[in-house]
Subunit: 255 residues, 2 copies
């Protein structure tokens, strides 16, 4: 008898940004898989079992969760943010695609969550106010030349860019290289937002011009948003500046 697997997005970390749907999935499941810091956020009951695992073993974690679900258990795979954005949903699908037929019979429910770029954007204004893209700077699973090609294409076409997985011990140079590329395509005044733990007590948000953006301003949990040349800062006396990208673009196409 086949059980079920929820792949749940917790949002950026503030419990008030977790949806009731995600809460209900957590309440319903008995076995929990996921990166330990995400599991630690949950207030689980004594009868709920957590199976912590390393963040780098996504496919193995997906396989273990699918095994438990195929045995009839109610299983929850926890992601930060949204599971479909550089998180566990694609790894689970990949495992099902290449796994035994029993995994295809698992009742799979993907529960969306607030992804980091939305939470960070909301804290500073509306920097994603026009067309935008999301790029993971991790070159574990795709070659760096392709990431670089996408960065250049997005900047040239005037997309706001949100960068995920910007930096880590294993990926020390990618964000610096990204800024270097962008400085050849965008004015030095283009606004860059570093957002970490948006909406949480340990929130850290910084806005700097591209010319002064340094990779050290980010860590692995930071979402880095790079505006377009049209992205503006509104100075306010007693509050942080509001950052937004206008909805309109002039007829000559510059933005």
């Amino acid at each position: 008898m086949s059980g079920r697997l929820y792949v749940v997005g917790l949002g950026p970390g503030n419990p008030d940004q977790m949806t009731p749907e995600a809460r209900a999935a957590v309440d319903d499941a008995t076995h929990f898989f996921g990166y330990k810091p995400y599991l630690d956020r949950l207030a689980l009951r004594e009868d709920q079992i957590t199976v912590p695992s390393d963040n780098r073993e996504e496919l193995a974690r997906a396989a273990a969760a699918l095994d438990h679900a195929a045995e009839g258990k109610s299983v929850c795979m926890i992601s930060g943010g949204d599971p479909g954005v550089f998180a566990m949903a694609a790894a689970v699908c990949e495992a099902i695609d290449n796994g035994p037929d029993t995994w295809k019979s698992v009742d799979l429910t993907i529960v969306p969550g607030l992804t980091a770029m939305l939470a960070v954007a909301a804290r500073v204004g509306a920097p994603l106010g026009n067309d935008f893209c999301a790029i993971s700077l991790s070159d574990n699973l795709k070659p760096w030349f392709l990431i670089e090609h996408r960065i250049r294409a997005a900047a040239e076409a005037g997309f706001v860019m949100a960068f995920y997985n910007p930096i880590s011990k294993a990926r020390p140079w990618q964000l610096g290289k990204t800024f270097e590329i962008l400085r050849t395509q965008l004015p030095g005044e283009t606004l860059v937002i570093f957002g970490r733990a948006a909406g949480r007590e340990d929130e850290k948000i910084a806005v700097v011009p591209l010319g002064k953006a340094e990779p050290e301003m980010a860590d692995m949990a930071t979402c880095v948003i790079v505006g377009t040349p049209e992205t503006r800062a509104i100075d306010r006396d007693d509050r942080p500046a509001l950052i937004y990208t206008p909805r309109y673009v002039r007829e000559d196409g510059n933005d």
Copy 2:
């Protein structure tokens, strides 16, 4: 004395996908602005006042809300989805940027919400599993040649694409033209997802190959996601196919 303005994202419509933070903002406010169908979703108290307005008058609506807030009221501007994604947050920032100084003193809080592409993606699998972009097909505020340029650039660079505002009575041809462009750049088998009212009772989801995608499959509330050539469908006996874009890209850079 200056009041406050919440710009709140309700998510795609299922109340279980609205965050507690959004609910708390709605409970706190006394005056409500927004497109009537969004306001109708709220169960407001008798002492809460709604000021309905037309969906096409975004700047006028933002100005009215800011006027009320500047007078000391607690005001809520309602968006579907996320207010920062092709919704009211950028219009409010634009109004503040060009408005009287008193608007800059308003205590502005932007409350993020689940945007349509995340909710639609979750219902079919993980189509946004690799780098992706979001493009509004509305050419009210930007010229069509720029939209076309962004579509071509995104397809060429291998981004999954999520299209917002795909079609309406005032914009009848833009989505058909988009498919026509994409057919020159992507294989006819590339998967296209039409998602409307994701997570609601009247949900409508369809998956077709690009070669058979027709603009009539969408209406103004549909989010259209176009995969990359790597986006895959996993057939399952008794369930809808799972659609996902793999996290990996082969070293030759094709995806």
